[in-house]
Symmetry: C2
Subunit: 250 residues, 2 copies
């Protein structure tokens, strides 16, 4: 029996955003590993073992998946969103690189999913319709100075910006500093989108001018998108449409 | 009868990457509009009218979709990949903003899809596993100077970079200039991924060190991803794994 590790993106929450490829992988799996709330999205069935683990044990979880695949299991590692964007794929490959040589030649594949930034952008209009960047605001795994440098250069490049993990209870100050940097660096009062729990029953979308953004508008379930200098607001009944045009005048 | 415009992402090519949400929207549509090869992916059925149009008529196509929705039709505008990333969503909203007021209050929604950059990244490993940017290299709608500025700032920020529309017959020189800028600005020989026609039968993935990249390695069906300074290569039998670790050392 030949084992495999499929690293699958479950999308932001709604089952309507799970690809058939991921659905099929889950139907064929012998073992599913992942963070507790993501494993909870996988239906139990005979022949499938669910292995839910806590946050911040990504490397242990990855090693476990690779060990089971070495024994011939068909393992699916579940991630929310897209596994390649601030999620499990990099963790699995870190474990592969540091692990025994035979892990490298396992059947390891990444199955893409709808990442939070694109689901959030879709709800607001098309704020990422032109050049943009994606930055993880958590400084758990990188120095804060690098985040600050990237924010300033992204503002200078006039990218729209999507922020993952903007704020948590253990890091309340990072997003406050981020807002201060952007207010200083952007030079205009562009729209900021706070998209919480997109595609779930708790979904909440707010659009706030940068000058009026405050840190507590975001938590760990919030995706924050900041428009570029060319981003437009179309007022209408209900929530406005936010989009970044395809053109930039010379 | 109340009309709607759903702007739907068909993903990069494989039907296994089309979300159930998009599949349902197509099943309910009275009219589908889009660029010829994307409309060709939609099955004909009684009650559905397909309106295929050529490239570079995005605003005309958008106006047509909005007019039909005003008449009560359930219109789906199809895009490849994700409609919010260098695709039809921004074009539709440009038409809305410039159009009659009543278009603003139509039921207009964006249905996200798997964008080419994430499908390409998944095939190579996880090159976008840390902070990254996405840049459209076409200068049809923006000045070349802005592209060059963004490339230099993105290199300085040490983002991994994903390039859409790297090269076409009418713009053969832009990607050559891009490679020259990156060779100058990156200061190391990082891996570059050329991912052509991802998830289709013509799929081809190549990994080339930046110093050995040449312009003709890309065409309009190619997604180009350039690693950051921390991007790793795991050699193995067959294609190597390319990934960007989650951590950056202080």
């Amino acid at each position: 029996m030949s084992g495999s590790v499929l690293i699958a993106g479950l999308g932001p929450g709604s089952e309507a955003l799970v690809t058939p490829e991921v659905r099929d992988a889950l139907a064929q799996a012998t073992d599913v590993v992942g963070y507790i709330p993501y494993v909870a999205r996988v239906a139990e069935r005979p022949g499938l073992t669910l292995h839910a683990s806590d946050n911040r044990v990504e490397i242990d979880r990855s090693r476990h998946a690779l060990e089971m695949a070495s024994e011939g299991k068909r393992v699916v590692v579940v991630s929310s969103g897209d596994p390649g964007v601030f999620a499990m794929a990099a963790a699995v490959f870190e474990a592969v690189e540091a692990g025994p040589d035979h892990w490298r030649n396992l059947d390891i594949r990444v199955l893409p999913g709808i990442t939070a930034m694109l689901a959030a952008a879709a709800r607001a209009g098309a704020p990422l319709g032109h050049d943009f960047c994606a930055i993880n605001l958590s400084d758990n795994l990188k120095p804060w100075g690098l985040i600050e440098k990237r924010l300033r250069l992204a503002a200078e490049a006039d990218f729209a910006m999507a922020f993952y993990n903007p704020r948590s209870k253990s890091r309340p100050e990072g997003f406050e500093k981020t807002l201060d940097i952007l207010k200083d660096a952007c030079g205009d009062d562009r729209p900021v989108i706070f998209a919480r729990a997109v595609s779930t029953p708790e979904e909440e979308i707010k659009v706030v001018p940068l000058s009026r953004c405050t840190p507590e508008m975001a938590d760990m379930r919030t995706m924050v998108i900041v428009g570029s200098s060319t981003t437009r607001i179309i007022p209408r009944d209900g929530a406005p449409i936010i989009y970044t045009p395809r053109s930039v005048a010379p």
